[in-house]
């Protein structure tokens, strides 16, 4: 309702010129004007948003687990004794033990590192590719757009699992670190298209805006227009897509590991544990439920965080 917005968004301020020389409506005169910035306003908004705090808490918790898992789990996740197979909670093992007799909770805590690393790095690489491709295609249009859009279509047409199986086969015998980065590489290579499309369409929308024409009339070059006028207005949707993508990359890593083509033991990851837990679900469901819950909560936390940040950075919603 634009009518309404006009009135509501108004702060009464003296329009001194052309108004019969008299001051206009007395507004909040005398109140000192605080310097405001977009980030500052966004922060003030976020501070009052409980969804932001809950999701941030979860993200920080998972990140802390990834960095210093020892703080959260008392037991060594690799200290497995078969005699404790499916034993109930005891000592530090609050969720008991799995089929191998390892501490279920400790394994979930230690699994955060691999999952988060895969998610964050894939999202970062994806973001860079998507911004560059989307920006070029959307801003320049014409044949640049035609070529890049076809590339996006082609990559989008590749089935993720099939391509991952083919590509990761080559590193199936390599070391842990190589495998980890191979997974990141594969996910980013196949996962940037959605974000690129989002960036492209928001760049196209921004490019047609009058304020871009206004900048051009002032003599601004392509670089300035892209950097100052288009990027900030195209970033918000990209951030949301990337935060959600981060969640889904974590889930994808788990899927690949679950299928046995991603990470492998002795690396600890939620996907590996979910796979192991599934096999012995009938004997004890806890070793399946715990890593699954960690995975679901982490993915959810990132999605909620992305949503909250998007809302805060959109001045029109305020």
């Amino acid at each position: 309702m634009s009518d309404f917005e006009t009135v509501a968004a108004t702060e009464n301020q003296a329009a001194r010129r052309g108004v019969s020389g008299e001051p206009g409506t007395p507004g909040r005169a005398g109140r000192p004007e605080r310097a405001r910035s977009l980030a500052g306003d966004a922060w003030r908004d976020l501070r009052r948003n409980p969804v932001f705090w809950i999701s941030l808490l979860l993200v920080v918790l998972v990140a802390a687990m990834a960095v210093v898992p020892g703080l959260f789990a008392a037991n060594d996740p690799r200290d497995c004794v078969l005699s404790r197979q499916h034993a109930g909670p005891s000592g530090g093992a609050i969720f008991g033990y799995d089929f191998q007799g390892c501490d279920t909770f400790a394994r979930a805590v230690y699994g955060a590192r691999a999952s988060l690393l895969v998610g964050a790095l894939s999202a970062l690489i994806t973001g860079v590719i998507a911004l560059v491709v989307g920006m070029l295609a959307g801003y320049f249009g014409g044949w640049v757009d035609a070529v890049l859009s076809r590339v996006i279509d082609i990559v989008l047409g590749i089935p993720l699992l099939l391509a991952a199986i083919v590509l990761l086969k080559r590193v199936s015998t390599s070391g842990d670190t190589v495998r980890l980065f191979a997974v990141i590489f594969v996910l980013a290579l196949l996962g940037w298209t959605t974000a690129a499309r989002v960036v492209r369409s928001s760049v196209i929308t921004a490019r047609e805006q009058d304020y871009v024409a206004a900048a051009r009339m002032l003599g601004a070059g392509n670089g300035r227009i892209m950097w100052r006028h288009i990027l900030p207005n195209a970033l918000a949707p990209a951030i949301v897509v990337l935060t959600i993508a981060l969640g889904s990359f974590i889930a994808a890593e788990a899927t690949l590991s679950f299928l046995g083509i991603g990470l492998k033991a002795p690396t600890i990851s939620w996907g590996i544990d979910i796979d192991a837990g599934r096999v012995h679900m009938r004997e004890s469901a806890t070793p399946l439920i715990v890593p699954s819950a960690f995975l679901a909560l982490t993915v959810l936390a990132f999605i909620m965080l992305g949503d909250a940040i998007r809302d805060a950075f959109d001045p029109k919603l305020r």
């Binding site: 309404f4 009464n12 206009g24």
Partner: protein
């Protein structure tokens, strides 16, 4: 264009059986994330058979929201009716069940909008869209509906109507689309037609055609018309009475000639003086200072007082009641007589 001499004045006695349509002390608020906006604050007006009432106001004045309340098409949330009555032939629409209101929409009261392109469905032919209510609600056969649709399109002067039944909205020009909208609104022969800024999106030459059409339809069919607009020029040509809205209230209500001759509310006076006239080349335009009010913090007393050249302490303290002036018109201003005399002199 001369008006009939039997034109009712604002103070015209209530006809036997009451007014055709009457809005009484309507209050509507919008509840939003930022707070509660009081959009309609006690609007009262009426409409009798066959007359044209103009509701004039700027954006945010509540002129369209009142019409949406009459039609029962307010979005709740955020809009909530907080009080008042909307009487159609003596029945209070606000207390009626949705089913009954739906019956009244179209058959008794119909509405046309500013943006005809978005009000029409792009994937159906216009003939089909005009005929829809004839088939669905009047229960006509396909052939009858088709015949009646052609008649309606002739009535709104769409050339070669029979040939254009199968055309899609994008194949029509802006003016022709507005005619299609009017034909749709008239399909079930309503007694009241509400036109919300019907010509705002159109060019002047086309605007004149549409306003002529509306005036002729009123004369030939006897449809009463509520014309909602921000354009003082459009009102001057067709309306009998005019209600001027500001901050969700009616600030002045008068016979259209009397109002243009000598406005009795400072807001109306300011508006009339601030628009450039085609027939008079003036020097600097006198403008209304300041900005329309924030509906979440409407000024105390008279809502217009921060912008008013006549402002006194009483305006800040007391909400002005409708002052009835000699010729049966009303003005919600503490100094209505003074303003009126200033404008007349």
């Amino acid at each position: 264009m001369t008006q009939s001499s039997a034109r009712p004045t604002p103070a015209s006695p209530t006809p036997p059986g009451g007014h055709l349509l009457e809005v009484r002390d309507l209050h509507v608020e919008f509840r939003t994330r930022e707070g509660v906006a009081r959009v309609i604050n006690g609007v009262t007006y009426h409409l009798d058979a066959g007359e044209t009432l103009a509701v004039l106001g700027e954006s945010g004045s509540g002129k369209s929201v009142t019409a949406q309340a009459i039609m029962g098409i307010l979005d709740t949330p955020p809009a909530y009716v907080r009080g008042g009555q909307i009487l159609y032939q003596g029945r209070d629409l606000l207390t009626r069940p949705e089913e009954e209101r739906r019956q009244i929409r179209g058959t008794e009261i119909a509405m046309i909008f500013q943006d005809a392109l978005s009000a029409l469905n792009p994937v159906f032919p216009v003939g089909w869209q005009i005929g829809e209510s004839l088939r669905e609600r009047a229960g006509m056969s396909r052939a009858d509906a088709r015949r009646r649709t052609t008649e309606l399109m002739d009535l709104v002067r769409i050339p070669a109507a029979a040939k254009r039944l199968g055309d899609y909205p994008h194949q029509f020009s802006g003016g022709m689309r507005q005619r299609v909208m009017i034909a749709m609104a008239l399909a079930l022969d309503p007694k009241v037609l509400i036109a919300d800024e019907p010509t705002t999106a159109l060019d002047v030459t086309v605007q004149a055609q549409i306003m002529d059409l509306l005036a002729d339809l009123r004369r030939d069919l006897g449809t009463a018309l509520i014309l909602i607009t921000h354009d003082l020029g459009v009102v001057a040509g067709v309306a009998d009475r005019i209600a001027v809205m500001y901050a969700g209230r009616i600030v002045e209500h008068a016979d259209v000639r009397a109002l243009y001759r000598a406005p009795a509310h400072p807001y109306t006076k300011g508006l009339l003086e601030s628009i450039p006239r085609l027939d008079v080349r003036g020097q600097e335009l006198s403008s209304i200072r300041g900005l329309p009010p924030n509906l979440m913090a409407i000024p105390s007393g008279c809502p217009f007082h921060p912008r008013c050249p006549y402002v006194q302490q009483v305006c800040v303290d007391e909400v002005p009641h409708d002052l009835v002036l000699g010729d049966g018109r009303t003005s919600a201003c503490h100094f209505a007589q003074e303003v009126h005399d200033d404008s007349a002199g």
